[in-house]
């Protein structure tokens, strides 16, 4: 059964550094998402992506964040200058239609 995969599973970085979180969505899916979960808090929507552009972003998704689908298979989330409060589990999701979302296992980002 096809799955969404994410790499790395755990990323440790220093404050101010750039990080790129990578996702490989299920191959025939058209809709792509990033969510995050700060420890002990809710899973929160960050951004959705369709037809090579952002379709919606939350207030969390400020200018430090960007997403890209560079080669038709990967979907990346870049944080330009990480802050301590960016430490969280980041989940990628994809869907073939607008109303389904299949999640990856997540990347745990630790900013020190």
């Amino acid at each position: 059964e096809p799955e969404v995969t994410q790499t790395p599973s755990h990323q440790v970085t220093q404050m101010g550094q750039e990080v790129i979180l990578r996702c490989v969505p299920i191959s025939n899916h058209l809709y792509f998402y990033w969510y995050r979960q700060i420890l002990g808090q809710k899973v929160e929507f960050l951004v959705s992506f369709y037809n090579n552009e952002i379709s919606e972003k939350s207030e969390i998704f400020d200018d430090q964040f960007s997403v890209e689908r560079p080669d038709g298979s990967n979907f990346t989330l870049k944080i330009r200058s990480t802050k301590l409060e960016d430490s969280a589990m980041y989940f990628c999701a994809s869907g073939q239609s607008l109303y389904e979302q299949y999640f990856g296992p997540g990347t745990r980002l630790t900013v020190t």
Binding site: Y31, Y35, F45, Y50, L98, E100, Q101, F103, P105
Partner: protein, 117 residues
């Protein structure tokens, strides 16, 4: 804006006992509702979803959930819990943006289920 409340942070049940996990939502229109499960080190796996029609929906792993509009609830149930059901369970409501071009999930904080032998 939509919201989801899962009142129970942690529930412990004995193996073989029945289970009910509570979920209340707030949403202005007819909601699309979901239950996801997360085992340690794993992603969020979809258990079941409600879009319309029969208010009792069946999911994977023997789970079911009942949509009650009058109570704004979508509680998850299982008649007999197995040790492998120990995990964290998330209820979510889906909503489209005003332009209809996007659909996002709003999650509850989750309920951690412990199963005693």
């Amino acid at each position: 804006a939509q919201s989801v409340t899962q009142p129970d942070i942690h529930i412990t049940v004995s193996e073989g006992a029945s289970l009910e996990l509570r979920c209340n939502y707030s949403y202005g229109a007819t909601p699309y509702l979901f239950w996801y499960v997360q085992s340690p080190g794993q992603g969020l796996q979809l258990l079941l979803k409600y879009f319309s029609g029969d208010t009792l929906v069946q999911g994977i792993k023997g789970f079911e959930a009942e949509f009650k509009r009058s109570q704004s609830s979508f509680n998850l149930r299982k008649p007999s819990v197995h040790w492998s059901d120990a995990a964290e369970y998330f209820c979510a409501v889906g909503a489209r943006n005003s332009g209809g071009s996007n659909y996002k999930l709003t999650f509850g904080k989750g309920t951690l289920l412990t199963v005693n032998p």
